[in-house]
């Protein structure tokens, strides 16, 4: 990205000439392709090159952020003028500013985020790969009667960050994903489910047949789902749903929610907010991790942050702005998009426990094993939690029949403390991961 490095230097110099005291910018270039197959026929092919510049300028304690996909000289000059004008129109904010110059990396570590060995697949080869995955799903059982399709996506990105401290860093990433979404029908109803694999390295994707078979099994086990009576019962979250719970937690520990007072975890650092067995870590430095990056959206080195340690709230997730407002230090969690800088997670995970998933299910006499949650019924200000759920009913320690059209509800304060068992089955299938977990009691609403 030597051209972009020169462009970055020129842009920052121009911004300084307009009187800006500080500035930084991020350029993201992405090549992506998508191929989709449905019922063994090609459904869609898509490919693209995109490039976007994110610029932030500061006039003392006033700032503005802009972004553009128009890289013509004329457009960039206009963007600089507009950004400078906007910055001078906003109110001063004593906490705003670039990270300290000392926080800049001297060398950008190689986190193995790019697949040098990825094969250059032709469209035909991609289609063949997807057909194998979907085909395995459809062939698994005669009740696999339809499909929402299967797809293979690739993304290759180059990222450049530069600021007026003189820091400029770049890195490359790649990712590959294969997903299958079959539909099972038994004459009385239809159920869709899906399974996927995503990785920075093509050869680390799960085999297509294995993805297809898992997707088929997941759709089949939902057939004949029913409601259950309203009751209180233990609830087990499967690994994907446990990860969704950890993602919810991430929103409540984001520095933005903390300084704004919009989280139930405000002023709780050092408090026992979860069961002793709960340790949650955000680690942006995991080699080849899907959430890894050498530096964040404002050039701060990523790191390993202990969020919850044996149930005690140890750290919030912070960018430079939130850190200054809270008199803390950035945790390297600045994310950046067209709207500016915000707090985002890197690789966030719940540290595994000692139980096998079978032991956890075996511990429940009568309760729910959740495999899907829908809706947005989480209030981070109060911790109130109420979501639509799909899963399997547990009787005497065994998964017995599928359930749907029910909700699970509680308050996150109680739910975190009532995490009673944590599985040993942690596997990263995305940026957030968790093993199976069991919450002692939640309200299930149904009939």
């Amino acid at each position: 990205m030597s051209i972009e490095r020169d462009m970055a230097r020129d842009l920052l110099a121009k911004v300084r000439q307009r009187g800006a005291t500080e500035a930084d910018l991020l350029i993201v270039e992405t090549d992506s392709s998508t191929a989709q197959v449905r019922l063994q026929e090609i459904e869609a092919l898509k490919s693209a090159q995109e490039r976007r510049l994110h610029l932030r300028v500061l006039f003392g304690k006033r700032s503005a952020a802009t972004s553009t996909s128009d890289f013509s000289l004329r457009a960039l000059d206009r963007l600089i003028d507009e950004t400078c004008a906007m910055a001078q129109a906003t109110a001063p904010d004593e906490y705003v500013g670039l990270p300290e110059a000392e926080a800049m990396l001297t060398a950008v570590p190689d986190l193995d985020l790019y697949d040098e060995a990825a094969p250059d697949l032709s469209i035909e080869e991609k289609i063949a790969l997807i057909k194998r995955a979907e085909g395995a799903a459809l062939a698994y059982d005669s009740r696999l009667t339809n499909s929402e399709g299967a797809g293979f996506d690739t993304h290759v990105s180059q990222i450049l960050y530069a600021n007026t401290h003189g820091f400029a860093g770049t890195y490359r990433t790649s990712s590959f994903s294969l997903v299958v979404s079959p539909i099972a029908g038994d004459g009385t109803g239809m159920q869709r489910d899906a399974w996927y694999s995503v990785s920075r390295k093509f050869r680390q994707l799960e085999p297509p047949e294995s993805i297809g078979v898992k997707a088929a099994q997941r759709a089949l086990r939902r057939l004949g789902a029913r409601k259950v009576p309203t009751q209180e019962a233990p609830v087990i979250f499967d690994p994907d749903m446990a990860a969704s719970l950890i993602r919810t937690l991430a929103g409540a520990v984001a520095g933005t929610s903390i300084y704004r007072g919009t989280s139930f975890l405000v002023n709780r650092l050092g408090d026992h907010v979860a069961a002793d067995t709960v340790t949650v870590i955000d680690d942006g430095t995991i080699p080849a991790g899907l959430g890894s990056r050498p530096f964040d959206g404002e050039g701060v080195a990523t790191r390993r942050t202990m969020v919850l340690e044996h149930g005690v709230l140890r750290s919030y997730l912070l960018d430079t702005y939130c850190a200054r407002r809270l008199a803390m230090t950035s945790t390297g969690n600045a994310a950046r998009d067209a709207a500016g800088i915000s707090v985002g997670t890197t690789n966030l995970y719940l540290v595994p426990g000692t139980y096998t998933p079978e032991e956890i299910i075996g511990s429940v006499k009568s309760g729910l094993y959740v495999t899907e949650l829908i809706g947005f019924g989480v209030n981070l200000v109060t911790g109130d939690y109420s979501r639509g759920a799909v899963g399997l009913w547990i009787e005497n320690g065994t998964l017995t029949y599928p359930v749907e059209e029910i909700t699970i509800a509680g308050n996150l304060n109680d739910m975190l403390r009532q995490i009673e068992m944590i599985g040993n089955d942690l596997a990263f299938r995305g940026r957030t991961a968790a093993p199976t977990l069991k919450i002692a009691r939640m309200t299930i609403a149904g009939n």
Binding site: G261, A338, V381, S386, G388, A445, N447
Partner: protein, 482 residues
Amino acid sequence: MTATSLTPQRFFAERFGIAKESLGRILGGMLGKAVDDGDIYFEYLVSEAISLEDGVVKKASKSITQGAGVRAIADSRTGYGYSDDITIENLALAAQTARAIASDTAKSGAVAVGQSQHTPHDLYPVQTFPTEVPLRTKIDLLLKIDQIARSYDPRITKVFASLASQQKIVLIATADGLVVGDILPLLRLSVSCIAEHGTNRQTGTHGGGGRFEFDFLLDEERYVRYAREAARQAIVNLDAIDAPAGYLDVVLGPGWPGILLHEAVGHGLEGDFNRKKVSAFSGRIGEQVASPLVTVVDDGTLPGRRGSLNIDDEGTPTGRTTLIENGVLRGYLQDRLNARLMGLPLTGNGRRESYAHIPMPRMTNTFMLPGESDPEDIIRSVQHGLYAVNFGGGQVDITNGKFVFSASEAYLIENGKVTRPVKGATLIGNGPDVLTRVSMVGNDLRLDEGVGTCGKDGQSVPVGVGLPTIRVDGITVGGTQR
């Protein structure tokens, strides 16, 4: 740029040197015997956002997004290429990518591209786009909102407000040689308040907007209403008790609770899901799927509405589609691909988030027509139930029909009277079944204030919903109180 002198075709011709002859050549090079349809979509979008917290506006952002997407359709297969660098060379390259889905190699000649057409409606005739209004004016409005919300009640401790403005210019050239464009304004004001009493902390949110000029927010003192409403909701929630859990009779208030229709039936009636027979509504046209009191329409032609469009993102004029008429399932929402494959008429519902996305059938403004009941009578008719007036988001699994939507302001109904506020809770139901239990429909149809965004397959588009007060005899309420 001012609205009067600007036409989409002139804009893209002057800015990127894209003449209609070159569009014809690119389309022609892409089409062939095996290619049934195709188009080129140009987009130039200016978005601006400012936000207020701690009583001042410290954050301002602006983004410019431009690009073009080229699509080829062969039978049910779609090829799509796009680039954010709009040049003839890149369009030709994108066309090559798009064309890869066709099996044959024969190409037709150039497509004769005609003069740019006028859109069939003029639903948002603005003089000054909201993006052109000086930042100072917008900042002053947010500062006033902060004052209004704080003065509502001393227990309001924090106010957040944001104002998003957009101007989008699109131009669509189709395989038929049609060229049509549109210039779309979009405005959205959001206000959130935190109310605190001791350790009890609650939130309230309100806002509005649409495809209007900035002054829409000042007219009828709308911004004052949004600010007070956000504050009021936060204060109400300070007294909220735990929501009930179980199967209850529910009265939905007018307006935004129309999200029920969006989730319960709207998505399930989108053409793609029905062509593929993966919707719980597949093959059920003509069947009774709702109470005879229920008529639901999708209307993209309401002036200024957030979900309205002069043309959809494939160049088809928008219209009004009856989805359910007196309880009977009547129609689907279509884009070009699905309408052609199903042999059904176009409805003007082919939408895409941006040039980087393939169009899909999507809703515009979806609402239930008013009935005859007095809203007061509807509440009085319920012995023990829930009265839900404000909602957050919702979601649906179109295959099994199960949908949720989450109340953010709700009350108990006890012996026909609205009593105590309850905490937010998710309501869950079954799309093909829930509207059969609508036993009363109010005469007070209201559309939402203009803040809705719908997500499908990773694509977000602005939409509207609407509902009169209705009574639903039984739906599962996901609270904690048994």
